[in-house]
Subunit: 93 residues, 10 copies
């Protein structure tokens, strides 16, 4: 099942830069891993913002929440989830 997930990152202004770099590197590795597993099927940057629009393909709500809440940046993100159904005019899923 597909979900549109919009994530916006708000890092605390006083976070040490080493911490920031470490979290971002972990986040990237985790994001790549989920994409390779076919869970995180689209990942786009919103122009001008530290934010993304993504599409996830998972088995259940529980699986999605597990993946999202494991993101290293999760404590610093505002996340909105929209469930997606098949559109009657779509020629592919």
């Amino acid at each position: 099942m597909l979900y549109c997930v919009e994530m916006e990152v708000r890092l605390p202004a006083n976070m040490p830069s080493e911490t920031t770099e470490k979290i971002k590197a972990d986040e990237k590795a985790y994001a790549v891993s989920l994409q390779e597993k076919g869970k995180w099927v689209h990942l786009w940057r919103i122009v001008g913002r530290y934010a993304n629009i993504s599409v996830f393909d998972v088995e259940s709500h529980d699986e999605l929440h597990g993946l999202l809440s494991s993101l290293p940046l999760f404590p610093y993100m505002d996340i909105r989830v929209t469930p997606l159904a098949r559109h009657p005019s779509a020629i592919t899923r």
Copy 2:
């Protein structure tokens, strides 16, 4: 270039049902045609709403506006466009 496009349809309550059916059929034919041309690359229904989240792949802002404003449902839709850039953690475009 990719754009996320969110469309919400609000048909007037007093539109005759034949008119509605005609517009919807035209809309579907047009949507299928744009998908086949590779312009409208994703089209998903937002669960519970007469609305969709789409991704378009076009050459320019002008081309996108031309496509959207030609939608048979355009006069009855509220449309929001978000330009998408490549994400540094994405493994594909």
Copy 3:
């Protein structure tokens, strides 16, 4: 899977009362049927509003959208869907 669904009804001011009564009766029959099938597991009235908060238990996004878009009042409702996951402190599902 569980979804929280909030529905608000806005009937056109000029809808004939027979039409209104017919739609409401159909809506009620449909709502009862979905409850008996175990799909619509909770249905509460929001005090002071022609609106409800509901919980649905279905197999997929597609099934939920199918059920909601078949509601006789669907063209007159504003619907918001929130996917629900298991809470780590919950003692039941």
Copy 4:
């Protein structure tokens, strides 16, 4: 009487992790206790957020406020309460 309660947690970025763990453990014990007493009748996680949608069944507004303001996470939560009435199409309470 039933109330829909939506809670969103916003912990300060600089809270020591031991404090966080202690508050979360206390919160969980308290939540379990209220569920066992039949006061907190539903507790669901909103997918992708540190937030929940709950239903409480209590005798009065005062009782509900007493329970909510005793939550260990209360100082860090944004809480919205919606009173729920019986819906005429509901087959159970």
Copy 5:
């Protein structure tokens, strides 16, 4: 139990004036009756708006919804209900 109820009236622009007068007279008679019964304990006009802030004192959510949905102006009102608890600094209820 006390509830703060804010009501805003939006009459259709094309409602015949006799209909409007009839509904307003019915609304007034009903409002007076509920005040005399001690259910509608405060009723104030919001300056500059066709709207009011009220306080109701009823036994349950169901009773309140029954009273509000019986208002002659109910189909034309936007109503917001806020449950009120005793304040620890209040010297009366």
Copy 6:
């Protein structure tokens, strides 16, 4: 003249608890005093929030602002004031 006043308290997360207790005690004493003088005629807790809905009865805008800006919690509150007029259907002021 009557004013509806909605106050929401947001204490800084790092305020020392003695300071908090001192301010709250001062606030309570001041609130009781204004109630006894007949200035603060209603004071209700909004269920689930560190917030209240109040009604003040004062001679002028200046008097009300003087009272509110003297609240010990004033620097930490978001306050909204709504002037109230007599409602034509009210049986008392």
Copy 7:
């Protein structure tokens, strides 16, 4: 006492032009009369909108509501009222 009053006019699209002209002429005469009486002390047009920002100087909330609800355009206006107090840095009222 002074009140800032912001008014926005929304005329129904199908109002006959004679009706519109008649209401506007009545509105203007009434506005001039209230200004001459010293009740409506400032009246400015918001650039680009069919809206104004005004200041009224009246004895009470009831008087202000009486004046505003007598405006010929009242049924077609969205009005927001803000009570104004003396500012400690102001050199005049």
Copy 8:
């Protein structure tokens, strides 16, 4: 002086198409004329919406309001005006 002006058009659903075409043609002629006079210095379409972002260069607020309220589409537009000052980092006006 420069003003950013954002205009969104909302035509009534039941406006006859001849009326619509006539208004649009008048609007275009007027827009071209103001551009040629150097009053309307930029005019861009917002992609996907029947809306524009414009910049006007006029002598005064009164002149701008006069120009905008003379637009044939003025009764059907929602207009937001933002005054623009010189930016200290700008290399031209």
Copy 9:
């Protein structure tokens, strides 16, 4: 030219009180000076808020921005500016 300017002050919770007092004194002196020069023609307190509604009379957008950005409280204020035109029903400017 006239501008309506709404200013809301949000001082950091941890600002030392001497700093606060110094800034407020500077702000007052500056506000008085601008009033005496006829630039800041109205200054009213919004009841219940650390905020004001003002009217400025200046030659240009640049002059207004220069005045506002020189306010000692400018870094701690949220400011909204609305250009005001002459109203056709106003009997004075």
Copy 10:
């Protein structure tokens, strides 16, 4: 292609003034450079705010995001991007 970009700066209250001055100087140099290259074609100050409205002319979304995310003030800005198409009534691009 043209994009309207609105930027609002929110510097942390506790940023040392040398840091602030350094960032602002870097920002200015960078802004001037992008203007000279013809990428940042308009830059206006929003009166009364630490914010600007800009127009960029770039080849792609990726280029724009690259430019914006390299702004020295980027971590402290809220940025909104709107793609602009040619307007049918515009006499120049």
